[in-house]
Symmetry: C2
Subunit: 346 residues, 2 copies
Amino acid sequence: MATPRKTKSSRVTLNDVATRAKVSTVTASRVLRKPEMVSADLRARVTAAVRELAYIPNQLASALASSRTGRIGVIVPSLTNGVFNDYLRALHDVFVPAGFQVLVLNSHYMPGREEKAIATMLGQFPEAIILAGVSQTPQARKSLKQAGIPVVQTMEIASKPIDINIGMSQYDAGYAAARHLFELGHRQVGQISAPLDRRARTRIKGYLQAAREFEAEPMVVSVDQPSSVPLGGQLLIELLERWPPVTAVFCGNDNLALGALFECQRRGIAVPDDLSIIGFNDLEVSACAFPSLSSIATPRREMARRAAEIILEIIRGSGQRPKQRQIDLGFRLIARQSTAKPLQVD
Amino acid sequence: MATPRKTKSSRVTLNDVATRAKVSTVTASRVLRKPEMVSADLRARVTAAVRELAYIPNQLASALASSRTGRIGVIVPSLTNGVFNDYLRALHDVFVPAGFQVLVLNSHYMPGREEKAIATMLGQFPEAIILAGVSQTPQARKSLKQAGIPVVQTMEIASKPIDINIGMSQYDAGYAAARHLFELGHRQVGQISAPLDRRARTRIKGYLQAAREFEAEPMVVSVDQPSSVPLGGQLLIELLERWPPVTAVFCGNDNLALGALFECQRRGIAVPDDLSIIGFNDLEVSACAFPSLSSIATPRREMARRAAEIILEIIRGSGQRPKQRQIDLGFRLIARQSTAKPLQVD
DNA sequence: TGTCCAGATGAAAGCGCTGTCAATCGTGTA
DNA sequence: TACACGATTGACAGCGCTTTCATCTGGACA
């Protein structure tokens, strides 16, 4: 045959191990999963055979037979955004020691792709799914419910959680960032963001509310592109062109804030004297920039950790959901050097 | 039974679809995989049944039966480093459209964890493995060879490739970065890096060679910590304390360079007038920093893309390896504002 | 009109593992 | 000495899918 199939013999199976150890397949299987059920004698023989044959268990077969895949599905909207690095790391830190594997899919901030990612994920039969965000398509919500596994929505508070929800109010956080600038005395406060991210849009609403309260003109500049450091510079330029008197800017996230800061340096705009800048998320770089960037610290690691812990509890506790199915973890305003009172309060 | 097993009925199987469409399981299977083999009539019936039942194929069973998992295993040493974002994205861009799934594991720059990651990966039976780096443990090399799947080592040139190798010379690149500074006239050239990364260590060797050629004193400061922006600042402080006359610094990567830049701004050290800075990797942020950061542009996207393409060729071409099993993709020196001639050539 | 063949369909046999339950063994008890 | 019991061990039947190969069509062709 020209068919390039793997030769059977190349793969060492549990059966090969069993044969070599002169035990049944079941016993060999048990040595690997529940060694205490097997006598020391046989256990030693099997262990030796495993080593000698360099046996690697076929997780596919194992998962199929036991209907336990040991997988947790995670869907995030971006991998470049530092936020999700922290988030994913926190998930790994809980799941990996617990013997689970974390499968990550990227939705690129597009609801359509998220729906597809959820379908793909479900085809892998994960034992639980964690979503960054709460705005799934109706179709996706339906599939998720139908899957009958724990589903945790994170990063925001959902009005109608699918199952479990651990988040924070993006609206309140956006409001808090804007309010910080208004309270310092700024009245010409701009907002720049990359609103592909729905959460960034929610934060803008918080900003708009603050502007309303302080009777300030809303000045929003945004462009439907993935957020990045250079983009922050571009958006700042546009903001300054459209509203030259602006004295403060709330950036949709810290990358944009960093780009805006660099652009200020390039143009000789003093931060915070000529322009106050506040970002969002409090990435590691924000604290060490010069001037250090004010930001809103989001509990992304805590959200991930809590989500993971709750899932483990549910899986181990035969599907029982915790009493509290929705948790708000809040946020913190971190005021640093990049925000200050405006020089002249005109 | 108290056993919390999934109820059989909850999962829709291919069999259910077939029954509903009044065809055999095989036909249903074919409609999903090779629709052109099935008549339009039956195809329509099966498609309808799939939709009505919201059938999700069980990839586990599929993979087990066909011994084609549709998975590509990738092991990278870090996810926080922007380099690997670009790298992974490039891999996705080739593999996902080709119908493959990319599984990523993180070795955290530790050979031991890489070995473990490779074992874990092999248990998933990927159809190929891509490694970022060439320094696998002997045990890992053995398992990889034994797996009988395409293995591509990337990011560096290997002296003894396991299978395929697509890389660049980290030594030459380090040398080029250092030489750039020496050629500008600097003689007090420092080097800072986080040498958990073996490649960073290789670059240091390139730097040392350049220092030797220009008869300059080597000034290396490093600390075994994961690289980060803040760390760049700390290392710069240490460098300046140990060698105050330093007029230029080669940073092990762009994050360190950025941290060093911020630290200079904080201390009123003018870049490049008082201190020239060159980074490594040419991350997106480097071009838009102020002053913009000189760097070495590494072909990480190209390495990933080539690796992916070669793998697809091998898989589709019944395992035939290409003629050229080792490719050097080179690098480029990008001189920007952060490097210039020293003010006084003492 | 009969033969042959390509195309379409289905039956059966696993892929490598685990869950279930029956069989076996040695030991303590009556 | 007979019997029960817990601890080990193994035989068997799938998990849900694909592969292989046999079967069955309906023309094309002689």
